[in-house]
């Protein structure tokens, strides 16, 4: 029941997710950070089975770090997303990871930001806005209405705040807190939505 959504501009990308960990009728935790920072310019918001979420994202982060040590550079966003997809797809017919992901990052070399939507089957698509889980039913239309090409970071944050409001108003599951992470040329910033 994790809510994950995000929006991507020309040189910034924001991913947001809720912070609740629920088990049957209980909320165990209100401050779980479901957006993992992979390296200096990349973040991934994961929704789905909790252990798979942590295990998969951690494995990706460490593999990317190893690549960075070996080659001296962070791979670019597309390579990272494709690599993550390949790992997910390889595991699919052995021991699948039940995680849906939004990958966001900034490419230093050409100064653009990119966002990718990936589901647990290994479907990968570059997008400018997207959502996973039940949140999608509520939030996709809000994102569609508020997105425009070359929008500013502030407009992006405002759009996500409208998404949060929509979820708080209409979604049956109570999600009081949302975390957002922003990637720009200065790296990753964290904010509460």
């Amino acid at each position: 029941m994790d809510s994950c959504f995000g929006i991507c501009g020309k040189d910034w990308v924001i991913l947001a997710s809720d912070m609740a960990v629920n088990r049957s009728i209980f909320t165990l935790k209100h401050d779980e950070d479901k957006i993992m920072q992979l390296n200096k310019f990349k973040i991934v918001a994961a929704s789905g089975e909790q252990t798979d979420r942590y295990q998969y994202c951690n494995m990706m982060m460490r593999n990317l770090q190893l690549m960075e040590f070996r080659t001296g550079f962070e791979p670019d966003v597309e390579s990272t997303a494709q690599f993550m997809r390949t790992e997910l797809a390889t595991a699919l017919r052995k021991a699948p990871f039940q995680v849906n992901l939004l990958i966001g990052g900034f490419d230093e070399l050409d100064g653009t930001a990119k966002m990718y939507w990936m589901d647990y089957l290994g479907t990968l698509q570059q997008v400018t806005k997207g959502a996973h889980g039940y949140a999608g039913y509520f939030v996709n239309s809000v994102l569609d209405n508020n997105y425009k090409k070359d929008m500013t970071l502030e407009e992006g944050i405002a759009a996500l705040q409208k998404c949060v409001l929509e979820l708080k108003t209409r979604f049956i599951i109570n999600q009081p807190t949302f975390i957002a992470k922003i990637v720009t040329k200065d790296g990753v910033q964290v904010m509460q939505l």
């Binding site: 070996r70 080659t71 001296g72 550079f73 791979p75 670019d76 597309e78 390579s79 990272t80 494709q82 690599f83 390949t86 070399l109």
Partner: protein, 180 residues
């Protein structure tokens, strides 16, 4: 110089040298020459055409210059059979990277991988080292045009200009004087 320390690739001699590796390099220095030069806007590899019998049918690949991937070339000096194996290995690795990450492998990453593989034959087992010196010319987004050379010991270095094969020492001296 034949001694009891050169029978196995995995032993140092009392002077601290790996004789098998040095013998391999000796072999390479008798092969046809290859010169590589790095320029601002590209890299050039030039290989001497070996004299072969007139009964010889040229193969699709020249035996000296090979395409490793769309963005990388390499040249071979030494045992051609060993080289073929290494190039195939390099091509496989390059394509695996492309499959997994949808982007061309960094030149140095491929060179390192091949060198790590070559190095194994100087430390383990009872197989001789690869008797090949490869020169790699390539381009990637991050470092631009690059030229590398690796030898049977598994060492590699990046160069502005280099030569392997016959008279490589002389060629390198000339390159040092004339390179700008």
């Amino acid at each position: 110089m034949a001694s009891q320390y050169d029978k196995r690739t995995t032993t140092f001699n009392p002077d601290g040298r790996l004789l098998q590796v040095e013998y391999a390099i000796e072999h390479i220095n008798q092969d046809a020459s290859v010169v590589g030069i790095l320029a601002k806007d590209g890299v050039v590899l030039a290989a001497e055409k070996k004299e072969v019998s007139k009964l010889f049918v040229p193969t699709r690949e020249s035996g000296k210059l090979y395409k490793m991937d769309d963005h990388m070339l390499c040249s071979v000096s030494g045992v051609v059979a060993d080289a073929n194996f290494l190039i195939d290995y390099g091509r496989l690795f390059s394509q695996q990277h492309l499959y997994s990450m949808h982007s061309p492998i960094y030149v140095e990453q491929l060179v390192q991988h091949l060198c790590n593989y070559k190095h194994q034959y100087t430390q383990f087992g009872s197989s001789r080292p690869f008797g090949v010196s490869l020169m790699y010319a390539g381009f990637d987004r991050v470092r631009g045009f690059q030229l590398y050379c690796s030898d049977p010991s598994g060492n590699y270095a990046a160069y502005k200009a280099h030569a392997t094969g016959k008279n490589s020492v002389g060629s390198i001296t000339t390159l040092k004087e004339d390179y700008q």
